[in-house]
């Protein structure tokens, strides 16, 4: 059964949705989608370096993304530029660096499009193994830091004053983000990864009264997005990564339409 490329694609997408849902919620809550996108942009550099120095691309992405994220955070604290300017500069410099490095590798013809927009239909068994092993490890870690991470998300100083290790929690969260980008890259590609994290989470907001339910609904919406997108991709022969993103957008629209009379500051439900 696993020989069928379509089944493998669906399984891969579902595996990613399990981690992308809850992690995407934190990105939405912390208003960090641009930060996440910037980290994702650096992933291509990780891929290129891993080919040049001959180690596993997953490891390359992980290392480069984490270093990159730490660098951005450090610069944002010191710089007099607005933090979105810092992000904008570094996201695109990293992407440009990645493309330039890929160009250096004359002996190896890397399918740039597959890395930028995903090539779910080329997901192999080994990729599936990575998605599920990495995804399971990430989920376990996320569950373990859930409470402190939520506290840090609400108020950093308050969490710190009440004994939560803020820096450590933030570092683990960044590590998780990098890990999910690394394993999701095959599915939707560097440029579209963040949409798979934030669109299902945003769609889940209006129908959730607790953070946990929002995370679970985001997982379900992610799975539906993958199914819809890949189905459409198979039907009309559209590129798989972008099709999943559009599938997610359809889910988002339907979820929003179903809840239109509830603006955020609207009637208090008690």
């Amino acid at each position: 059964m696993l020989d069928d490329f379509f089944i493998r694609a669906v399984l891969g997408g579902i595996g990613v949705a399990f981690v992308a849902g809850p992690l995407g919620c934190f990105i939405v809550w912390q208003r960090m989608s641009y930060f996440g996108a910037a980290i994702a942009h650096s992933a291509l550099l990780g891929v290129a370096l891993s080919f040049i120095f001959d180690f596993a691309p997953l490891l390359g992405i992980l290392v480069v993304s984490v270093l990159f994220a730490l660098g951005i955070v450090g610069l944002q604290r010191r710089s007099d530029l607005a933090s979105d300017t810092v992000l904008g500069i570094f996201a695109h410099v990293a992407l440009a660096l990645g493309v330039v490095f890929v160009g250096f590798m004359e002996t190896l013809r890397l399918d740039l499009m597959a890395y930028l927009f995903g090539d779910l239909l080329a997901v192999g068994r080994l990729d599936l193994l990575w998605i599920y092993l990495g995804g399971a490890a990430s989920l376990v870690l996320l569950v373990r830091i859930w409470r402190p991470l939520l506290a840090v998300t609400v108020h950093e100083d308050l969490a710190a004053a009440e004994g939560i290790a803020v820096e450590r929690t933030r570092l683990l969260y960044t590590l998780l983000l990098a890990a999910v980008i690394a394993i999701a890259m095959k599915i939707v590609g560097i440029l579209l990864i963040i949409s798979l994290l934030i669109i299902p989470a945003a769609a889940a907001r209006n129908i959730s009264r607790t953070p946990e339910r929002m995370a679970i609904v985001a997982v379900l919406f992610g799975i539906i997005s993958v199914a819809v997108g890949l189905g459409a991709s198979l039907q009309w022969d559209t590129p798989s990564g972008p099709s999943i993103v559009l599938g997610a957008f359809v889910v988002f629209l339907l979820a929003r339409l179903g809840n239109l009379p509830k603006p955020i500051s609207g009637s208090k439900s008690r």
């Binding site: 506290a151 969490a159 339910r213 008690r270």
Partner: protein, 262 residues
């Protein structure tokens, strides 16, 4: 034979105890001296109000006392096992984060539901247990955050501008509430305020900060101190009389009239 009274006395030392003491705190950011050799201490069962103009270093001083930042020079000493309840200046829960008051109360430490209920009742927010945090008004939010700080059963309560975003009547109510908490819980309270006359009634000691300690002492003394008057003007001192009246009733959060018990 068991005598319960002395045991109770043992648990709560009747002499005032210094809970936290800072000496010689100095702090510089980007060549600007924020704090200059600041000394401050809070004892159990006293309310210390930290007052000063915007940018005087009040929040920085609180952060140093809470251990969120390390001073350039100086030391902060706490009694061992000091539990601090902290109410930050403004907690705004992002509207995308669905967080009920109940979840907020148990955010960092799991708390029994019954304890939550009691604490919310005490701050006059009993009906808000299932409300969403981002839908609360400024006053409701501060009451919930106060209940949250109290649930930690703190020896020291640190309140950073607790009445920000609260209307005038709500401000007076909140300060009365803080005074009651001190009486009932016998904890020390350190509070930052922009407005001395509002806190006069419930404050034991005022510390006036403008990068250095300008003056400190009983509120009546501080309000006549030339350094205080230079910072806040004579009008601040004159307007004090306006607020020296008593209320015979107050309005609960839901608008009903609540009889005062004093």
């Amino acid at each position: 034979m068991v005598e319960p009274v002395p045991i109770l006395e043992m648990a709560k030392p009747n002499s005032k105890e210094v809970l936290i003491e800072a000496t010689g705190l100095s702090m510089t950011f980007d060549d600007r001296q924020i704090l200059d050799r600041v000394d401050i201490q809070v004892q159990s069962r006293e309310i210390v109000t930290l007052i000063g103009p915007n940018g005087a270093g009040k929040t920085t001083l609180l952060r140093l006392l809470l251990g969120l930042q390390v001073p350039d020079t100086g030391t902060v000493q706490r009694v061992p096992e000091l539990t601090i309840g902290y109410l930050p200046q403004k907690v705004s829960v992002d509207p995308t984060l669905p967080l009920t008051v109940e979840r907020m109360l148990g955010l960092t430490n799991p708390v029994a539901l019954e304890a939550m209920r009691e604490e919310l009742e005490e701050v006059g927010a009993g009906h808000l247990m299932q409300a969403m945090m981002h839908e609360l008004s400024g006053g409701e939010q501060q009451r919930v955050m106060l209940a949250r700080a109290m649930l930690r059963e703190p020896d020291l309560l640190v309140l950073d501008e607790p009445v920000q975003g609260v209307d005038f009547k709500g401000e007076l109510d909140l300060y009365e509430l803080i005074g009651r908490i001190r009486d009932r819980r016998e904890c020390g309270i350190l509070l930052v305020s922009h407005d001395l006359h509002l806190v006069m009634a419930s404050t034991d000691r005022v510390v006036c900060l403008n990068h250095h300690i300008c003056c400190a002492g009983h509120p009546e003394a501080v309000k006549r101190d030339p350094e205080y008057l230079a910072l806040f003007g004579h009008r601040a001192a004159e307007s004090l009389a306006v607020y020296a009246h008593m209320h015979d009733h107050e309005h609960g959060l839901s608008g009903d009239i609540v009889e005062n018990d004093h």
